[in-house]
């Protein structure tokens, strides 16, 4: 049996219906290498995904391409997901791409790494590019959503510690496709019209990577870098790192932290100030006291008392000498006294009266002289015999010379009589 012939369009239409109603082909994920990529001027992207033996045409429409944050290149290993669509006119089919994952990472991650590397190479993140934050800002600009959690946190934190700084809130979009342009515009606007603002806090509260994405866009990074006013970037939570963070002068982990970094604690500052003033007073008092003491050391009373003291010292000195001299003299006098007594004793010992007491007698002639020899008297002379207890009167009746006495010693004779 011969089948009825169909025309070409009928066949392609039939194939389209089959393919586009197939449950696998309407939601499919395919991995392969990018080749033959073409960026059409109307915004669509055409590419061929291939492996070692086969090829698959792919199509990324303008709408979906807009969400692609980086450029695809030939040779990249990617996984695309989407659905198979048939182009009846040419009898061809292709994969209509809705999402792309590169080397296992989502395209946002890839875009992030690529932009980070690019700007880093340009030196946008260099430490030398970082501006210092003023210690005591007079005015702070806050660039964030007027309705988000971030603005509430920032205002609360600032007001709690600083009642001086003026706060200028510049509301802007912080998520969605138009946010990056808005942020960039506001940053430029502030720099141009309000250059006296001391610090800009740019940020938003936490969210998904897609929500935080505007802060990973080149246009924002460049506006931050171009800002002459220092920028603190505070995007999401502690763990979220954005390109803004790298481009900013200071990265704060959260909007609250940014507010804390931006302004000093006035209560603390005031306390310190008062302490310094107290120190100043104490030191000045000490300096004056020191001088006063020095001055007092040189006044009349002090000099008088000093002189008195010196005189007293000299007096003591003199007294000491006086005492010394007196002692020496006394010692000398005692010495002489002893000497005299000693001699007196010797003299006493030699006193002739002692001899008389022992029984000797002295003979005195008529001329009142001691008779020392028989020649000093003549026979018949009256003489005086002196004894210890008195005088006797006598007359010389005989004289005998010592040689004629036959050695008869009168002393010896006397001793015999005693015995």
């Amino acid at each position: 049996m011969k089948l009825k012939a169909l025309n070409v369009s009928q066949v392609n239409n039939y194939i389209k219906r089959i393919l586009q109603s197939d449950p696998v082909l309407t939601n499919i994920s395919v991995k392969g290498e990018v080749s033959n990529i073409k960026y059409h001027e109307n915004g669509h992207v055409y590419l061929t995904l291939k492996d070692s033996t086969s090829k698959l045409n792919c199509f990324i429409s303008f709408e979906n391409n807009r969400y692609l944050k980086y450029e695809l290149e030939n040779g990249m290993e990617i996984t695309v997901s989407g659905y198979i669509s048939v182009y009846e006119k040419y009898g061809s089919y292709s994969l209509n791409v809705l999402d792309i994952i590169v080397e296992g990472k989502g395209n946002l991650h890839i875009a992030f790494e690529k932009l980070k590397e690019k700007l880093k190479k340009e030196g946008l993140f260099d430490a030398s590019q970082k501006k210092e934050l003023p210690f005591f800002p007079k005015s702070v600009a806050i660039v964030t959503s007027a309705s988000g959690a971030a603005i509430k946190d920032i205002l609360m934190t600032i007001k709690k510690k600083n009642y001086y700084v003026n706060i200028y809130v510049f509301p802007c979009l912080v998520q969605g496709n138009y946010a990056s342009k808005d942020i960039s515009g506001v940053l430029e606007h502030i720099n141009k019209h309000y250059p006296d603002i001391d610090i800009i806090i740019l940020g938003r509260g936490g969210g998904s990577m897609e929500e935080l994405w505007p802060f990973n866009e080149e246009i924002v990074a460049r506006s931050i870098h171009a800002s002459t006013i220092p920028v603190i970037s505070a995007v999401g939570h502690e763990t979220d790192f954005s390109i803004s963070d790298f481009a900013a002068d200071v990265r704060a982990a959260t909007p609250t932290a940014a507010a804390d970094i931006a302004v000093p604690n006035l209560f603390e500052l005031s306390r310190n100030m008062k302490k310094v003033k107290k120190d100043l007073n104490t030191i000045m008092y000490q300096i004056i006291e020191e001088r006063r003491n020095k001055l007092q050391k040189h006044n009349f009373e002090v000099i008088t008392s000093l002189l008195k003291h010196q005189i007293r010292n000299l007096q003591l000195y003199c007294n000491q000498y006086h005492n010394d001299i007196y002692t020496v003299l006394r010692e000398k006098m005692n010495h002489y006294k002893n000497e005299i007594e000693k001699r007196f004793a010797v003299l006493e010992h030699l006193n002739p009266e002692h001899i008389l007491k022992r029984g000797f007698a002295a003979l005195i002639n008529k001329n009142d002289s001691f008779v020392k020899s028989i020649e000093d008297v003549d026979i018949g002379d009256d003489v005086t015999i002196v004894l210890a207890d008195g005088d006797l009167s006598g007359r010389i009746i005989n004289k005998k010379h010592k040689d004629c006495l036959n050695n008869k010693n009168p002393v010896e004779k006397e001793r015999k009589n005693d015995g």
Binding site: V169, M273, L280
Partner: protein, 73 residues
């Protein structure tokens, strides 16, 4: 936002106050210079405390359409 350039800033006054105090502490100056430094220190302290006492914090929101600031509601 308007900054009177003739007036010394808080930051500078505070730095000067600390500097003057340190110099006095060193004690290498004459009595006359000490008194002068002390007066200077007190002057800087007054600048700082005046700034803090006269603080009048403003919180303003920029209105893109009006191109001007308005008070927070």
């Amino acid at each position: 936002m308007t900054d009177n350039k003739n007036e010394i800033s808080f930051e500078k006054a505070l730095t000067q106050l600390e500097k003057v105090t340190e110099k006095l502490k060193e004690g290498k100056v004459t009595l006359e210079e000490s008194l002068k430094l002390y007066d200077e220190g007190i002057k800087y302290y007054k600048v700082c405390s005046d700034i803090l006492e006269d603080a009048n914090q403003k919180i303003l929101y920029y209105d893109k359409e009006m191109k001007s600031f308005k008070e927070a509601e």
